[in-house]
């Protein structure tokens, strides 16, 4: 049942502010949610951790035991909130933060754009403007004279207690930062930005962030060289393994260039590819070799890892990683960095880092998609589209499409490697797309019961879009390919679309990147590169 939650009651002592049930969710075609229930949380966990927002936990926040602990949470939050609005601490996003904090007109236009809000059965707490409005009202209440004096008459009616702080922390991790809401706001207010600002406050002041993103993410990244924990030695082993894989797939060994000084391009993959989808870097190697691209990988710690989880939650961690990646390219003396099929890595390094790369850090950085288009159109490689004679739909990763405007190159590639009639756009394709549900860290956050929330709420809209795109070919006897040129989106496809919604078993839909499809269509590759039976 839809639960009405007033902003001023956000800190109420209810066990769970908005308990979710399956019957609230917007059902997919043919989905019967009436008998389903979310897995109950074990009593010992209830005692220990805070689930009081919606019954889920992304952050493992331990419930405070004493009034002193409760007060410390509130005080630390207030200290962080003040810093968020000071240029010394937040110059990098101060102007957007201040503007989005001051000028929301409470018109709700953003609500209908949000896949989480829609999927949840329109629960108040998931409105894009709900968490932003909490931030505003708390800020006004504690940091503006009008708010202190006039309370609700100055839009300042949220009183802090530890529950407000913890619920708000959890709530900042219920938005995938897809910015679909921002693109509909008549004023230009950016609720995703504010969700990220909240995450920053929690991380940079209070040390609160999901373990997968922080401890085993950016911290691990800096210690081992990769967020996957892959050391240099393991990376080099993986490259050998990929060379074996290529030989097995195409009957010919290709030497993948590593640490080639002075190469034209340093190619930077999300290291998750090496572990989970080695076909992807293998396909890049096959294509670049065939097209005669002068490139190299770096084996330097942080130089072989393209991810930058800092993009999602922490400016300091973000900047450390981005500049270490550029440093690796500098050390190799390459002309430019090309980022592989990973959305947040591309946006993080190409767009957001742009104004951080001052002085000799200004090495050009770009997405792989235009290069793949150039390779395809150049005629350097011969393709036989009939080798890809199955229906394909294309997911638009938010980071590359809505946030960078890269829309055409991937479609131009598909035009050349698919037979006519096999490509179908999803509804809302392009800059109006929906997040895969794995955005902003969700794809890697697998602790506690968070995956259940993610699969059911964040990925639900994507599942609906995929079904819509394939609606005339859902028959499982027809194999279908969901093309997601982004590592995180593939992670979400694997966990949500394939495992949770069962698209592989029910409809014979598999997922993969763009380069795999390209290699699959290469005339020089004797056997199918994409095999429906195995790894997907």
């Amino acid at each position: 049942m839809k639960k009405r939650v007033r902003l001023s009651e956000f800190g109420a002592a209810e066990k769970v502010l908005t308990p979710l049930s399956y019957s609230d969710l917007a059902p997919l075609p043919g989905e019967d949610t009436s008998q389903k229930q979310f897995k109950p949380v074990r009593p010992e966990l209830w005692e220990k951790y805070d689930y009081s927002l919606d019954g889920f936990s992304a952050l493992n926040l331990p419930i405070p035991k004493t009034p002193e602990e409760e007060a410390a949470i509130v005080n630390s939050f207030l200290a962080g909130l003040e810093k968020l609005f000071k240029k010394e601490n937040n110059w990098a996003f101060l102007q957007p933060t201040v503007l989005s904090t001051e000028y929301c007109m409470q018109c709700n236009t953003c609500n209908e754009a949000c896949p989480v809000y829609e999927a949840s059965g329109r629960q108040d707490i998931y409105r894009p403007n709900f968490r932003s409005e909490l931030l505003r009202r708390i800020y006004r209440r504690y940091f503006t004279p009008a708010g202190r004096l006039l309370g609700k008459w100055a839009g300042a009616d949220v009183e802090l207690n530890w529950r407000v702080v913890y619920r708000l922390a959890e709530l900042s991790w219920r938005c995938s930062l897809c910015r679909r809401c921002a693109s509909t706001c008549p004023i230009g207010v950016d609720n995703a930005l504010l969700a990220r600002e909240l995450r920053k406050l929690f991380s940079m002041e209070m040390g609160i962030a999901p373990d997968a993103v922080h401890k085993s993410g950016t911290i691990n990244h800096m210690i081992t060289g990769s967020s996957t924990g892959m050391t240099r030695a393991a990376f080099l082993d993986n490259i050998e393994f990929i060379e074996d894989l290529i030989e097995e797939k195409i009957g010919r060994r290709i030497k993948i260039p590593v640490d080639k000084k002075g190469a034209d391009i340093m190619l930077l993959h999300n290291a998750g590819e090496y572990m989970a989808w080695p076909e992807n870097p293998a396909a890049f190697a096959i294509l670049f070799d065939a097209a005669g691209i002068d490139y190299t990988l770096s084996s330097e710690a942080m130089g072989y890892e393209g991810v930058n989880y800092g993009v999602w939650y922490d400016d300091v961690q973000y900047a450390r990683i981005a500049l270490a990646q550029v440093q690796a390219a500098k050390n190799l003396g390459v002309r430019k960095i090309v980022v592989g099929e990973c959305g947040h890595a591309t946006k993080g390094l190409v767009t957001i880092a742009d104004r951080l790369c001052v002085g000799d850090f200004a090495i050009p950085r770009e997405s792989c998609l235009p290069l793949l288009e150039q390779i395809t159109l150049s005629g350097a490689i011969k393709f036989d589209p009939m080798k890809n004679n199955f229906p394909v739909t294309m997911h638009d990763p938010c980071n590359m499409v809505r946030l960078m405007g890269i829309i055409n190159p991937q479609r131009n590639v598909l035009k050349h490697i698919l037979p006519p009639g096999q490509f179908r756009e999803m509804p809302n394709a392009g800059t109006n797309n929906y997040c895969c549900g794995g955005g902003s860290g969700f794809a890697i956050m697998n602790s506690q019961n968070f995956p259940e929330w993610r699969n059911n709420l964040a990925s639900r809209k994507k599942a609906q879009q995929v079904l819509e795109a394939f609606k005339d070919v859902l028959d499982p006897s027809i194999p279908k390919y969901y093309c997601a040129p982004c590592s995180n989106c593939k992670g979400a496809a694997r966990d949500a679309l394939m495992h949770h919604y069962g698209f592989r078993d029910k409809y014979n839909i598999i997922y993969g990147g763009l380069v795999e499809l390209m290699v699959n269509a290469m005339i020089d590759v004797p056997h199918p590169f994409i095999t429906w039976e195995d790894e997907f």
Binding site: C104, A113, W153, T184, V401
Partner: protein, 310 residues
């Protein structure tokens, strides 16, 4: 004329105009002088034109700057004059919002016409239906005034209705939203009432404006005129302190954030500014932040304390 009416139709109006101008200028100046932020583009960016994002090209950084003024103006025009995003994404609110904005746009034109008429009167040209430019001003003022009040009132009432009766709107509306609408109701309502009951040709108001322009007290013929001027002044005094300042802030949302695709160039002012920001000392206190390090030091450091903990 009692002294209160004298204050409302004289000093209070000057004060309101002065406060509005100074505070608006101050706020705009403050926004403009905030540090440059990191890129946070949102596509499509209209000035990139039909070609779309440069990021779609190999070696995009070598390409000349894209700037299609036509596409940018078209998008701005659609947003300013039709409130396009609300129209496309929220028709319900758009109906009220559009009428209300029309009320303000036409109301601004009406004020300009009143001032023009007053200047003519000061110069000895009588603004009446008698013909010539003066009669054009005469009729346009009436038409603009009435249209502004009617549209403004209709829009405000519709938005009030939504905030009171639509459950979803109710859920997000704070006291300030109602207060702002209340103020607009008084602004347009007193204007409408004064026109209807006291000043059908706006001659009385024009005389007040002429008085204001020449710093001469003009007797108030009807207290509705004083009320109208009072609520106008209150509105002006409140406007720059309120979220309704979005009329100015919106420019920065679009041009300085969503559509700001200016790349960093070597030796540019932007580079100098950002290099300067890197010396700001960081106060964040989580374990992975280098204690009291500036941004340059933060970036060069690794989270030692977190590493120790592992």
């Amino acid at each position: 004329m009692n002294s209160l009416e004298g204050f409302v139709t004289g000093p209070m109006v000057y004060l309101a105009i002065a406060v509005f101008t100074v505070v608006t200028a101050y706020k705009v100046h403050a926004i403009m002088n905030m540090p440059r932020h990191l890129r946070w583009d949102l596509y499509p960016v209209p000035h990139q034109g039909p070609e779309g994002s440069k990021y779609q090209k190999v070696d995009f950084y070598k390409l000349p700057k894209q700037f299609s003024l036509t596409h940018e103006l078209k998008e701005m025009g659609e947003e300013i004059f039709f409130i396009k995003r609300a129209f496309l994404n929220n028709r319900k609110i758009w109906r009220g919002s559009y009428l209300l904005h029309l009320g303000f746009y036409i109301g601004t034109a009406w004020l300009a016409l009143l001032v023009a008429g007053a200047v003519m009167e000061i110069a000895g040209v009588r603004v009446s239906a008698a013909g010539g430019l003066a009669s054009l001003i005469y009729y346009l003022t009436i038409a603009a005034g009435v249209a502004s009040f009617v549209f403004g009132l209709a829009g405000t009432l519709w938005l009030f209705h939504l905030r009171v009766h639509d459950e979803e709107m109710q859920a997000v509306s704070d006291a300030v939203s109602y207060m702002n609408l209340g103020l607009m109701l008084l602004l347009f309502g007193t204007g409408f009432a004064a026109w209807l009951f006291a000043d059908p040709t706006f001659a009385l108001l024009r005389a007040q404006v002429a008085g204001l322009l020449t710093f001469t007290a003009v007797p108030v013929q009807d207290s509705l005129i004083a009320w109208q001027m009072f609520w106008f002044s209150v509105f002006l005094l409140y406007l720059p302190f309120s979220r309704m300042m979005h009329f100015a802030a919106k420019y920065f949302f679009y041009h300085n954030i969503m559509w700001d695709d200016e790349p960093l160039k070597a030796g540019s002012d932007m580079e100098k500014d950002i290099t300067g920001y890197l010396s700001y000392s960081v106060e964040w206190s989580a374990r992975h932040i280098k204690h009291r390090g500036n941004w340059a030091e933060q970036v060069a450091s690794r989270p030692e304390r977190e590493v120790d903990k592992k």
